[in-house]
Symmetry: C2
Subunit: 219 residues, 2 copies
Amino acid sequence: MTALDNAALRAAATAANGEQDRRAEIYRSAARIFHRKGYHATSINDIAAAVGLTKAGLYYYIKGKQDLLFAIMGFAMDQLDEQVIEPARRVQDPQARLETIVARHARLITQDSSALTILVNELEGLLPDDRTDIIGRQRDYVDFIADTLAALRDEGKVVGLDPTVGAFSLVGMILWISRWYRADGRLDGDEVVAEVTRMAISAVLNRGDHSNAGNPGTG
Amino acid sequence: MTALDNAALRAAATAANGEQDRRAEIYRSAARIFHRKGYHATSINDIAAAVGLTKAGLYYYIKGKQDLLFAIMGFAMDQLDEQVIEPARRVQDPQARLETIVARHARLITQDSSALTILVNELEGLLPDDRTDIIGRQRDYVDFIADTLAALRDEGKVVGLDPTVGAFSLVGMILWISRWYRADGRLDGDEVVAEVTRMAISAVLNRGDHSNAGNPGTG
DNA sequence: GCCAACCTACCGGGCGGTCGGTAGACTACT
DNA sequence: AGTAGTCTACCGACCGCCCGGTAGGTTGGC
């Protein structure tokens, strides 16, 4: 619930404030509502009401609906950079690095999925230039994972797996958490993160074949 | 591209027609546009224009935008039942059954992802009763996978994995294919299906630990 | 008196949806 | 053969509503 608190603090080191608190609250509320109802189904009035303003009052703080979306996605991407990619870059061993990526990304989602989920679900709501920007950063992330899988392959720990397909698949597994995980559910966040991390590692590490006595039954 | 062709044919065995062809074409076009732009960002005019009708003309065939969405999702769910769940039910061996599920679901997505993707991304566009219906059917699917994982656990092939988390994670991996797979890409559909199926099986089958000499680096 | 922080009132436009109509194919009756 | 009626498959024009966004205040703390 505190994920967007520093969104504004980062952007503006200007002025010891109160305005920035308000702006952060707006971004946070908008992210929550976009996440719940979707970008297009959310009106500017919805957001204004959620922060106790009228629509016109809200426009004192924001430039427009699309800028709001881009700001939220940019924040989510920054979060991914700082909390996942940068820490993982400092891990030399490829397997440990992969574990770091999956665990940290998964934890981010169990803690507050709204901005990160908007990041992947509302791309088409962006202006073309903004979309290009965000897609590029997402692509870099997938490439980073794929490079890690390629390094594992060079070590002989991964055999016969296309790094790109592997990277996309792991990302899919992680992102999907936001669709089913509930903080008040049977498992707590740490347990979910641990389970998913184990599955992810197991999915890519190859130690023998999985041939099966039974009928594959695919045809 | 032919995924929705029989949508109407199935519903109406009545009357050798032409009206049903048109209706099927409408559903197919709508699915494609909803998939590309999202439900809320798609106007009734967009769909009408895509099938060469005016908005008023389109309403001769459909009851409304939400009914259109529900029909598409119902079709996608039927497709999942017929092409994935029913065939898998007939496979006794749990591991072979899991392979069947993943491979068939993945193949469905590489062949035509529009309806199946709408099924998971546009739930909030439905009327409450329709949403309850669809969510229930989706839940049954996840439970079916979880039961299969539980059977694998009883056989000793899966150790220390929560079946529900496992099921959700596999579903996430599969559904994500529609976001990155391109028919004209480096790998063809069958290769992608095979890769993802191998990863899925590997993710859940437990044959020893994955302990790593390096630093897990998660903290 | 000034400026940050709002508000009321409004705008143009696009939305989902409806209404009354009609061209044209087909049928029915004379 | 002609013509009146009927039905399918549409269309142009329109409705009320709500949207994102703005112009022009007003208010309260400094």
